[in-house]
């Protein structure tokens, strides 16, 4: 049995971070708490428990990168930071493309940094099911997270022209638009949030909670994929996995013995890990209850030069239609390759459109889903299934019509819609008429980055997979701490809710330290 040793080149990686290059043979490690996954859920749990004095070990399948590794090479960043190159699908009609991060820091490394508390009405709904999650009881955890990640409004001079146009359109329509809160310290608008912040401004877990966890003595093992949780009867005792090699192959095995296991692999991979470990829930909800905040985008073309890649994206959110299930409208710039990919055009037509790249505003909306899907574990791998409802496609259609109206009010000259048949709108009247048009489900191009709910928390073990802190019902010493816990979708960006719940769960472990350390 080999023992892992610290990074070969001091200073390249901080002390306490180990990667595949440090593990030269089958390895066994001991700790108090093993945290599987280092994203929005895993990193805060690790930091809180390490600070409290627990011996914490984080195991992360993805690689360890640092701010200096994040460059302008979009496709290289996607290959390194996104699971499956960002091309994972939830099957249904239409299939829904979804994205997850796979790196130390998880999806927070590639997310937009929108940081919002859970809306009060959603928390009230959760409280009605018996959970003690009122906004008042969560307040200290939200505050703590906001401080740690420096959640703050944007500096005006960092906001991109595309976002000012969104605001102009909303103001012209008289619709409610709010400045976004983001986890950043003087974001300077490099517009690379989705590819790793190259300036260090975005306070992702990678640059906030992970350094904090390391500072308080946690160890982080990158490039280690956990295969299963080890059990002694109904008690979790650790995890087993292997080093994941660049070619997708398996390296030496890694066994971690722990007193408490935390599953924080995200809403797609946590249920798969639990199922691979032979666990099930009498609620039947493990892997079920998947919500996605289905998301559609359109491209508006303006006469003026927008150069949307200079300046931060999503600086504002239009919340006017939240009551109708239309979560938010926002402007998001993406590199030309990603926009070209989303357009159904080709050849000279594609060229003519893309020549106007600097005149484009990409705007999107998300829907609070009215249905749920399921993550099934097939041969050990998760596969998501999700069927959009008629109601949700209607909401998307209405949202798209309104968003197009807003963009025309801001001065757009034409709008390309997210349908496979390359449909365009030329003015606000056409935007309004969009509502009357039958659009078959298969035509929609729907994407998402908010997967939630597949190990839902709840007080009733016949209805929920975990208790209200995330401890799995009927299993001892197994905590779930990620987006899987949400009982319902939350209509706003989920990172801060995940972090607040994870912080609260860490507090629960600290309060019961005697029990968990025995």
């Amino acid at each position: 049995m080999a023992v892992a040793r610290p990074a070969l080149i001091e200073g390249v990686r901080p002390a306490g971070v180990f990667t595949r290059h440090d593990i030269h043979g089958d390895t066994v490690l001991d700790c108090d708490v093993v945290v599987v996954g280092s994203g929005a859920g895993g990193a805060p749990v690790a930091a809180e428990l390490a600070e409290a004095g627990f011996d914490v070990l984080v195991v992360e399948e993805g690689s360890y990168y640092q701010t200096r590794d994040f460059t302008a090479d979009t496709s290289a960043m996607v290959r390194q930071l996104y699971r499956d190159g960002g091309a994972t699908m939830a099957l249904g009609n239409p299939p829904i493309l979804f994205q997850e991060g796979r790196a130390v820091g998880g999806s927070t490394v590639i997310n937009g940094g929108m940081s919002w508390r859970t809306p009060d009405d959603i928390l009230e709904r959760w409280c009605k099911d018996g959970l003690d999650v009122s906004s008042k009881s969560l307040e200290p955890y939200f505050e703590r997270v906001e401080k740690r990640m420096n959640v703050a409004p944007m500096d005006d001079d960092a906001i991109g022209r595309d976002n000012w146009l969104l605001k102009k359109g909303a103001d012209a329509k008289g619709w409610e638009i709010i400045g976004n809160l983001r986890n950043q310290t003087h974001c300077v608008g490099s517009n690379r949030c989705a590819f790793g912040c190259p300036t260090g401004a975005k306070q992702s877990s990678l640059v906030s909670y992970i350094p904090r966890a390391l500072h308080y003595g946690a160890r982080v093992y990158a490039n280690v994929k956990v295969e299963s949780i080890t059990l002694h009867g109904k008690r979790a005792t650790g995890v087993v996995g292997h080093v994941s090699l660049p070619n997708g192959g398996r390296g030496p095995s890694v066994t971690v013995r722990a007193k408490l296991v935390v599953a924080a692999c995200g809403a797609i991979h946590t249920p798969a890990l639990l199922v691979r470990s032979g666990l099930s829930s009498r609620s039947g909800q493990l892997g079920g209850n998947l919500s996605l905040h289905p998301n559609v985008k359109c491209v508006a073309i303006f006469d003026e030069n927008v150069t949307g890649w200079k300046g931060a994206h999503q600086a504002f959110q239009v919340r006017e239609f939240a009551d109708e299930g239309i979560g938010t409208f926002a402007a998001i710039n993406l590199p030309p390759s990603v926009i070209a990919m989303s357009l159904p055009h080709r050849g000279a037509q594609l060229g003519a459109l893309m020549d106007q790249y600097n005149h484009m505003v990409l705007a999107g909306m998300l829907v609070e889903d009215s249905t749920t899907g399921r993550v099934r574990t097939i041969k050990g791998r998760p596969q998501a299934f999700y069927q959009l409802t008629k109601r949700d496609t209607q909401v998307m259609q209405r949202g798209l019509s309104l968003l197009s109206e807003l963009l025309f009010a801001a001065g757009a000259k034409r709008i390309l819609l997210p349908f496979h048949n390359a449909q365009e709108l030329a003015n606000a009247d056409e935007a309004r008429r969009l509502l009357d048009q039958p659009i078959p489900p298969s035509s929609w191009e729907v994407v998402t980055v908010h997967m939630m709910g597949t190990a839902r928390m709840g007080v009733d073990r016949t209805q929920a997979v975990t208790d209200q802190f995330g401890m799995m019902h009927d299993v001892d010493r197994l905590l779930v701490a990620d987006a899987s816990l949400f009982p319902t979708p939350i209509r706003v960006n989920p990172m801060e809710t995940i972090m607040a719940l994870a912080t609260r769960a860490a507090g629960h472990v600290i309060d019961n330290a005697r029990r968990y350390l025995s």
Binding site: E48, E51, A52, G53, Y65, D69, T71, A72, S75, A76, V78, R79, Y82, D84, G85, A87, M89, K147, R148, N150, T185, H186, V188, S190, N191, R192, P198, T199, Q203, V207, P211, R212, H215, P246, N247, W309, P335, P336, S337, A340, M341, S342, L343, R346, G347, A348, L350, G351, A352, M354, D355, Y357, N358, A506, G507, I510, D511, A513, R514, L517
Partner: protein, 175 residues
């Protein structure tokens, strides 16, 4: 950084992909066909296994599928014939044909607009912009940046007064 696997199309697969560049990419960028197909391969290298297998199988079917109508394999088709043949897949004999044509369109368009010369041609120059704003952040806002770095590590226990050593000691004593 090379932290992802290599995926290479077969010799024929590459020829098919190269023959599709003039069909899918804007004419002025066909000169970058090699780079576009290399980008395509890089993207496929990290895609889900199913997609990787699908692309390999799809290319073979696409190539041979041209024989009955054109008496040539697809990778030998040029001009109008190449266009017409791709279009027949786009509009689909089966949903699988449509999906495959759509995927090719997406992946080659992605590969095309990832070529540095193409990005330059449409006025997208992120590297100097990143450099400029990074410098600004580290000079104009240096004090705040430092403050946040200190804040990240500052002690702030979730349960003030909690000492794990006490718990461990109690446990030993109590055991």
């Amino acid at each position: 950084m090379s932290d992802f696997p290599d995926f290479k199309l077969s010799a024929t697969g590459r020829k098919v992909a190269l023959s599709l560049v003039p069909v899918i990419c804007p004419p002025e960028y066909v000169q970058f066909a090699d780079a576009i197909v290399t980008n395509f391969e890089l993207t496929i290298s990290v895609s889900p296994l199913l997609l990787r297998k699908g692309v390999s199988a799809g290319f073979a079917t696409y190539d041979l599928g041209a024989l009955p109508r054109y008496r040539k394999r697809a990778h030998k088709l040029t001009g109008e014939d190449a266009e017409r043949y791709f279009s027949s897949w786009e509009h689909g004999i089966t949903p699988l044909h449509v999906q495959f044509a759509r995927a090719l369109n997406q992946l080659l368009s992605l590969g095309c607009y990832d070529v540095p010369e193409v990005m330059e041609a449409i006025g997208y120059r992120p590297a100097p912009w990143i450099e400029e704003v990074t410098r600004k952040r580290l000079t104009v806002y240096a004090a705040d940046v430092r403050k946040q770095e200190v804040q990240i590590l500052a002690p702030d226990p979730l349960r003030p007064g909690f000492r794990i050593e006490d718990v461990r000691r109690d446990r030993k004593v109590g055991a």
